[in-house]
């Protein structure tokens, strides 16, 4: 492979769909034009190409920078992406003993996500020594010990940050979590059923056993701190859409630890800015399922389309294996000859660089 091709591949790695195609065309134009300039100055083709590449700097800085822009959705922080999904679904949970009731909702035109009872959240934060105040859609948070107090939660003034159900107001979990992180709090999710959000000595316990809420909560740790897997594609927790099945692994799984299975599915998608203009699109949606392991065993819900899969031992290998399938002009399927690249990650629950570790394919076996 030519040095230029290698550069372009590395510089566009991790990007999807139109974003990838456009950057590739743009960089190719830059390279060709610069090479032509050096050629006019009397350099040989090889020398012109070498000088151009040296001038450009490392390709990883390009891909890293572009990913940084693409993965912050136009509407604000993670979770506020204007996904082209329809249908509203609200699921109430049975009352329990924990402090803050969580529900799973899907406001118009927004991807489904979990929500927390705002009034109960205010009480729980007060008991933890902090403060949540103001109207739910423009609230501010103060976390004990965090460097920034009265931090605004919904800076993007996004309408989907809150929803009403049965006379109560609910705040989107991702909006709340991002606010906690923006205040500078060191944050961790612990537990599975009725999990807690912990910051220093403060703890807020959420009342939920709904796997979708639990998935959403742990997925936040990956969306904020994890590998740049989404890269312009929509990263969904797995919906029970009728095309799901179970998959179990045995191996070195620790009882009570949390794991996630990341799987690519083919589906055309687009995201839009607040005025409705499509700003990005692609053909792969990464879905995930998070679950708690028993000793030596874990079970996941999977999308049936990825029955043929291959586990990868590192994120880069996983991304590279997906590259050939991002061509939106062709129809792709996962089958025995084209197994879906997948990742099995152990999650620490911490929002930070240690949010995940890749589980070695050699240490586990699919049942």
């Amino acid at each position: 492979m030519k040095a230029t091709d290698r550069y372009l591949r590395a510089a566009t790695r991790g990007l999807w769909g139109r974003a990838r195609r456009e950057l590739r065309t743009e960089l190719t134009g830059h390279l060709n034009e610069r090479v032509a300039e050096f050629r006019l100055a009397g350099l040989s083709v090889e020398e012109a190409e070498r000088r151009t590449l040296r001038e450009l700097g490392t390709p990883e800085r390009v891909s890293g920078g572009m990913l940084g822009v693409h993965t912050v959705p136009a509407l604000g922080k993670v979770g506020a992406l204007g996904v082209l999904l329809a249908t509203a679904l609200l699921t109430a949970l049975p009352q329990g003993l924990a402090q803050v009731k969580s529900i799973y909702g899907n406001p118009n035109n927004i991807g489904p996500s979990s929500y927390l009872n705002f009034e109960q959240l205010m009480d729980a934060i007060k008991k933890a020594g902090g403060e949540l105040s103001g109207p739910p859609d423009a609230a501010t948070i103060t976390v004990p010990g965090a460097p920034r107090s009265n931090y605004p939660l919904n800076t993007a003034q996004w309408a989907g940050a809150t929803l009403q159900q049965d006379g109560a107001t609910f705040l989107q979990t991702a909006t709340f979590v991002n606010g906690l992180l923006n205040s500078g709090a060191d944050l961790r999710v612990t537990g599975w059923k009725n999990p807690s959000l912990e910051s220093g000595t403060s703890r807020i316990t959420l009342e939920t056993e709904d796997w979708r809420v639990l998935n959403d909560l742990y997925l936040q740790t990956l969306l904020v701190s994890g590998p740049k897997l989404n890269a312009g594609a929509i990263w969904n927790s797995l919906e029970s859409n009728g095309n799901t099945g179970d998959l179990a692994f045995t191996g070195e799984f620790k009882k009570g630890s949390i794991y996630t299975f990341i799987m690519p599915t083919f589906s055309d998608w687009g995201s839009q800015n607040p005025s409705g203009k499509i700003i990005d699109s692609g053909n792969i949606i990464l879905k995930s399922n998070v679950n708690q392991a028993e000793q030596g065993r874990i079970q996941f819900r999977i999308d049936n389309d990825i029955r043929n899969f291959k586990l990868f031992s590192d994120v880069r290998g996983f991304q590279a294996a997906l590259d050939p399938y991002r061509d939106t002009t062709k129809v792709h399927h996962w089958d025995a000859a084209h197994p879906a690249p997948v990742l099995l990650l152990e999650l620490s629950g911490h929002f930070g660089p240690d949010a995940y570790t890749v589980v070695s394919p050699a240490s586990v076996k699919a049942d």
């Binding site: 950057l23 610069r34 390009v62 800015n273």
Partner: protein
């Protein structure tokens, strides 16, 4: 003895003002990436050296924010498609606002130097 003036800006200083630098170069005639990085160098005698790794992500960010509009055209020498960026109306306003902000900032900072300064 004071250090001599550096021949390139501090990385944080450059990063903090990258949008202002790019909007300043793009205003007037629309330009593509290579032209923008060359103009940055030529017009400042090499002080601003914008690497591709910071240039294109910043252009994408400005485009997403609606401050510049990009469209593909053929480049003059190679004929390859290059993305040409033009300032939008809101980009023009943004440039003006940022320029005023920067001028006010340096003017106020200058007062501190005068007061504490070379007496």
């Amino acid at each position: 003895m004071p250090s001599p003036a550096p021949d390139s800006p501090d990385a944080n200083l450059l990063r903090g003002h990258l949008d202002l630098i790019l909007l300043s170069i793009i205003q007037g005639q629309p330009k593509y990436g290579l032209e923008i990085s060359k103009q940055a160098q030529e017009r400042t005698s090499g002080y601003f050296d914008l690497k591709v790794g910071s240039l294109y992500p910043a252009l994408l960010r400005l485009e997403k924010a609606g401050f510049v509009r990009g469209g593909f055209q053929s480049a003059p020498r190679s004929g390859s498609p290059v993305k040409v960026y033009a300032l939008t109306e809101s980009g023009g306003k943004e440039l003006e606002a940022r320029r005023r902000e920067f001028e006010t900032f340096t003017r106020q900072l200058g007062k501190l130097w005068q007061l504490g300064g070379a007496s």
